[in-house]
């Protein structure tokens, strides 16, 4: 077994093992240290004897023992050697735990750990940082890089967040059905936001952002593995996979984002698209639509179009209409307006946009959308004014360049269409 193989197995077992240990010890720090210890023992044992049949069970038992020994040792001041011996003399840990490890309990342990990380009184980035550190085992330096923070400051934030989360964790008993549903919702949202953190931001370290997306996908997979009949978790995983399938086409060689209609669709990862579609199909069988499922369906319609101008915009418009019902928000209405302009007409889209003008008055994408619809209906003065407003809202350099180009176009058309004097 190469060290990379061992590392992969240990990293894969981490969320479950940490979750079981946090319940056992009621302490995240103790759980993390015990896991680290168990991993070191695993590397020593498995390199020669082969990997345990159930790495998760093995790690949980060994970690528990090493933590208990650690506590005893610090109480009795037993020498290191003696403590190590007491671990090695125990019977095969795997066999012991196979009898004890209750899958349902482990399932709620993982959910509890995830839920602990997404306490609403923690700022969003602290929630995500905590999840990345504790559940996924990301090094603090990488988390700091992902959120563009100094490692030292990130370390302090995680420590604070851990303390806050720990005070919540102690109160988390085995959940009732309603409580479990509430936790699933909160955890799904956290995974969704983690994915978006990696997906939507432009610039910075693209490699680390991709890692955030991949970790979000892993967490969604884990959640679905533990709760296999949750349609919205299927929808969430499908959504992440379908969006992630476009990652190779989304960013140009210059590091700039490429709009959906300009992407080389040959670079979309077909295996991720197929898996996303399979999951979405499974979710729809439940007949319980939800926001993740609808968003995944929208992504799936985009992914199904061999070329941008073959996109089924009517279907997308209907899906946005459904999303407006399920999860009303001005941005969803804006997206629906865009779909309307493609499916029906710019006039219909402008009418729909009217309802969100106030709530989106500081949103760049609202003004650029409005401007392009106005230009399409040959209202060039109004279009230029909307572009002007977008420029005032601090667009990125790339956006600003695009906006100025469009403004020049409107200016030219305005002159051309103006009645000639004399």
């Amino acid at each position: 077994m190469t060290s990379a193989g061992l590392e992969a197995i240990l990293a894969n077992a981490r969320p479950r093992v940490i979750a079981a240990l946090v319940r056992h010890f009621n302490s995240v720090d103790l759980a993390e240290d015990a896991f680290q210890d168990a991993c070191e023992k695993a590397v020593r044992t498995w390199t020669d004897d082969g990997v345990a049949r159930d790495p998760t069970a093995w790690l949980i038992v060994v970690a528990r023992r090493s933590a208990i020994d650690g506590i005893r040792k610090s109480r009795r001041r037993v020498g290191l050697l003696e403590a190590a011996a007491s671990v090695d003399e125990q019977p095969d840990p795997e066999e012991e735990l196979l009898l004890q490890l209750d899958q349902d309990e482990l399932r709620d342990d993982v959910l509890r750990l995830m839920f602990m990380c997404c306490q609403p009184d923690l700022p969003l980035h602290d929630q995500l940082a905590l999840a990345l550190k504790v559940i996924a085992g990301f090094p603090v330096d990488n988390i700091a890089r992902a959120f563009v923070v100094q490692p030292k400051a990130m370390e302090q934030r995680i420590t604070r967040a851990k303390k806050k989360a720990a005070s919540v964790a102690t109160r988390l008993e085995t959940p009732t059905l309603q409580e479990r549903a509430r936790r699933l919702n909160a955890v799904s949202l956290m995974i969704y936001l983690l994915f978006n953190e990696g997906y939507t931001a432009s610039g910075g370290d693209t490699h680390i952002r991709e890692e955030l997306c991949e970790e979000a996908i892993r967490l969604a997979r884990l959640l679905l593995m533990l709760f296999p009949a949750q349609a919205e978790v299927m929808g969430l995983l499908a959504l992440c996979l379908l969006q992630h399938s476009r990652r190779r086409a989304r960013i140009g060689e210059d590091g700039k984002l490429i709009a959906l209609e300009d992407q080389d669709r040959g670079k979309w990862e077909q295996s991720a698209i197929s898996e996303g579609r399979a999951l979405l199909e499974k979710a729809l069988r439940h007949g319980r639509p939800g926001a993740y499922q609808v968003q995944a369906a929208i992504a799936a319609v985009h992914c199904a179009a061999p070329a941008s101008d073959e996109t089924d915009w009517r279907e997308i418009e209907q899906l946005y209409a459904a999303l407006e019902q399920l999860q009303p928000s001005p941005v969803v209405s804006l997206n629906r307006a865009v779909a309307m302009s493609k499916a029906f007409s710019a006039e219909a889209a402008l009418r729909h946009l009217g309802s969100v003008a106030d709530s989106l008055s500081n949103y760049i994408y609202y003004h650029t959308t409005l401007a392009s619809l106005l230009a399409e209906t040959e209202q060039f003065d109004a279009a230029a004014a909307a572009y002007e407003r977008a420029l005032q809202l601090g667009p990125t350099e790339q956006q600003a360049g695009h906006i100025r180009e469009r403004m020049r176009f409107c200016e030219k058309r305005r002159i051309k269409s103006a009645p000639s004097v004399g």
Partner: protein, 125 residues
């Protein structure tokens, strides 16, 4: 005689390997597929999607249940399979040994009966 080579491993581990190790493992698969293909001994080969995409159909009383998830929750999951033509179990085991052994295990099992176009060796074999 046809043999099934069933690939088992812990789901999610392969994805965590560095890219070069993934590539090395896949190359072993491609090599075996090439070799078996040239001998006309490759029945079919499949990589299965994650068990989270699976559904299970079973009867309960008078009704048929369609459940989300794999047939059984196991520590190692069925990840893929080969159907190969071999002269003996020994030979089938030798073929399985050519596949990446690091994080996978292979169940080699004789096929009792096989049919369908997908399970057949190519027509010109």
């Amino acid at each position: 005689m046809q043999y099934a080579i069933l690939i088992y491993g812990i789901e999610g581990v392969f994805d965590r390997l560095p890219e070069n190790e993934q590539e090395r493992a896949m190359e072993k698969h491609r090599e075996l597929q090439r070799e078996l293909g040239e001998q006309g001994a490759l029945g079919s080969v499949a990589r299965l999607m994650d068990t989270t995409t699976a559904m299970t159909v079973r009867q309960k009383g008078d009704s048929v249940l369609v459940l989300d998830g794999p047939f059984a929750e196991t520590k190692e999951q069925l990840l893929g399979l080969y159907i190969v033509e071999c002269s003996s179990m020994d030979e089938a085991i030798e073929q399985a040994k050519k596949l990446p052994l690091e994080i996978f295990a292979y169940e080699v099992r004789p096929v009792g009966w096989g049919g369908g176009t997908l399970a057949q060796p190519s027509a010109d074999a």
